[in-house]
Symmetry: D2
Subunit: 281 residues, 4 copies
């Protein structure tokens, strides 16, 4: 039996679940997991189904199911569950998220392939090398940014990348790039958004005297730190912690939050509805 | 349109979701919320669906849906969402859970009716009175327990009670009572189970030097503090807290955990599968 | 033996602890609890000591201790621990924080007296009455605000109030009022500051799609929601929660965060150093 | 200026703080951080002070201070803050805690030296090698345990080890070993103690249906999983998580909890009072 993950989104109307269940039965499938959500803001119906099916041709299975759903004109994605998605990691100089993602992948905690790492610095090259992952140094200056992004697009294509994971990558991507890969660029921001958008969030958190600091994984959009939030978490801090200690405490939150977000993406548990995400966990 | 909540459990087999969706379509219903789980330990398929439907006869709607599901011999419950379930609260001398439940009910935070309060003491009678809820004092000694439970059963029947909520009720219910109302008695235990089962959990937590204390809402079974767990939460404590301060900190956890459990029950988001609960939140 | 709580703040220099310990020994006192902090931003030394002493004249004990500390020119406060501080509660129409504070005071969970309640509406009068606390209705319009604050100042004086607790009071206090009572007005804001300052934080949290909502207790200053933060907490939410459900979940956080802040104040565990608070917990 | 950390414990009596402050003044020291606790169960007075002092001879500084404290017969420890303590890590086959500790040490998040790793298996040797840390394979069978512990004692002595950190080491240490190094062996247990002591805690947590799983760092004593608790934390889980997923979620909690415990030890923020720990954080 082949396991499939199906996700769909369409304008909400009666009968979608029935039609989908019908389609899966026609494909001789058995539903293993199913979750749905009707978003009141956008009127979108979102659904994720995992099912098993004797047929191992995604194309045929898809055709059978789609024929039942045509009337709803859904954005529908179907894939075999055992083929992992592929993420390109981008980093600058901070290693904690990169090291964590690579370690999780090695022990089987991360359901996504990490075939390539890109950085605007060379510092983390040795970590990539140690884990046997190709590392590309693509420096970025205002002048070279277009060329850098062209190179990045080539790598995305060459390595058949699904998602770009900004694991503390300190450069802003261009508007066309953000738009072209919308829904497939995940960033970890080192604050509990919408607090402390932009630079130096830990220092600003320290100066503001907050009693908890946090991290936010979100989809990247043109508006900085404004994209749909995927996951957040916080940790309690006291007045006695220095800015450096906040940074250290924050690292633990950042790496866990980013790993959760990447895993949600890896398992198609993540949809965008308007300015928000729908999480099928 | 009438809103219905349907819950079902049966042995897991292919086609259940399709049949159910079919039944709801036959009843001219539209699914609003749906969640399911196949329990690997028991092999049970659990599902909860909320749907709207022009027909306001539960009996007819039920018949239409059941006719599609007969082959799965499900334990199926259907009810109209706007009719709240009804809970009888039992207390002894501690007021914090009772006061909290009554307050939540009054401001609309608790989706269950609280038509009657029972206690083995008279201390909390004035609180019941202040909120206009009938209060029955049913003292319990080893000798009078059978008679007390007979009286309790009468009240359950008379007030058409769905659930019995032990809001820090300090008596143990008899085996026949626990069995007869299995799945409908919710207790709040003042520890993070399975740690500190039984009496004086806060004192024992203090002496053991734990760094977090907790509370556990669970279904009551004959085995003390061993029933299926519904909800748990914890709060961080330090070595400097006295046992009395642990009790005070614990109160906040207890009342929140119990209220969440009662709300899960109230909205049929709670099923028992073997020794565990399935939560459709 | 009389228990004393001493707090002090002064420019940090060597020898303060020794001088203070010396002073307490001269007063025949024995230190029970002691905590200190040197704030790197302001250069202020902050300390809180609880000690017992056979002498029950605060004046004499103070004199003995101050004579040792004179050279540091400290802002020093000494009081007998068994005499509770006194708070005036201000509310508008939301009852959850008020009800919670009154309940905690009644069962001994709140170490502060609550002798008087003020509101710009009459809605919560019956709650005050039920608990036997004088309730003053002081309506506020742009025109009447000066008169309203004059009345408020009278009540503060008449009831010998130490702290003003804004338990979801929806009016902004004037600049002179904020300044005159700086360090003695505690507000609960229904967001995790600095996110969602100002009005309607839950709705904005919903629209932004955050994965956790929170509450913040802070000292009130002229700049809205910018005063030193005392305590914060959060609760996890999902995309499926409506704005109304966020409000309900937020209530639990608000009342706990405010109660903690009030208790910190009540026990002198709270100092202001620049834009931040120092918590001796 | 040299920074010193002083910890002391003695029977609680008036005047200790004064005498200590006096001693530090005599040593021309200035107190930077200070915390104390009088344990009501044992009657022990516990204190930790960090101070700076122009004299860089620990011996002389100690002598000056001790001369003031003699009458209290304290257990007193004084050391220079810039000299890190040294920990020997013991592991079996699970790598997550080891990898995390080594990474933290490398980026400066862990204030303790990790000069040597011991394992009863060879699996994690390559990780030690990659980080340049000597790795000793000391297999353990019932017959060879005495010899193995003799070898372990040699390494402790040879590498001038302060603490032994059991980073998921799956062997039980002998009674004499536990006793000789009491207060200096830290274990991470993969449950929220006292729940699920002993083997397979995640599987048992799964079967019991708990809604949160946790980890506990504690000092090792002869009674298995009964030693004084240093740090605990939990993570929320749902019915849908498999035992394997609980293991994966638990890893994140284990590594953070162990790192916190090791850092508390590294900075002398950790004292044992009876069956509990006192944490000066």
């Amino acid at each position: 039996m082949t396991h499939y993950i199906l996700t769909l989104q369409c304008a909400d109307r009666p009968g979608i679940v029935r039609s989908l269940a019908q389609g899966i039965v026609h494909a001789n499938g058995n539903i293993i997991e199913s979750a749905q959500f009707s978003d009141p803001i956008t009127g979108q119906f979102c659904m994720r189904v995992r099912f098993e099916c004797p047929d191992n041709s995604s194309k045929l299975v898809r055709k059978t199911i789609v024929s039942e759903l045509m009337q709803y004109a859904p954005a529908l994605n179907l894939r075999q569950a055992h083929v992992p998605r592929r993420a390109l990691i981008m980093v600058s100089k901070h290693s904690h998220c990169l090291v964590d993602l690579l370690y999780r992948r090695e022990i089987g905690d991360l359901a996504i392939d990490l075939p390539v790492i890109v950085s605007n610095h060379t510092d983390l090259g040795p970590i990539a090398e140690r884990h046997g992952v190709p590392f590309f140094h693509i420096p970025v200056t205002p002048d070279t940014k277009p060329a850098a992004e062209t190179r990045l697009r080539q790598l995305v294509s060459e390595y058949e990348i699904d998602a770009i994971v900004l694991a503390r990558y300190m450069q802003v991507l261009s508007e066309p790039f953000c738009n072209d890969y919308f829904g497939h660029i995940i960033n970890i921001h080192h604050s509990f958004l919408p607090g402390f958008k932009g630079a130096n969030p830990y220092l600003r958190a320290y100066e503001r005297g907050v009693k908890m600091i946090g991290a936010t994984a979100h989809f990247v959009t043109v508006a900085l730190d404004e994209g749909p939030i995927i996951e957040q978490d916080v940790v309690r801090v006291s007045h006695g912690k220095t800015p450096e200690e906040l940074v250290a405490l924050g690292r633990d939150v950042e790496r866990v939050v980013l790993a959760r977000a990447v895993n949600l993406y890896a398992e198609d548990r993540l949809q965008i509805a308007g300015a928000r995400t729908v999480i099928f966990d």
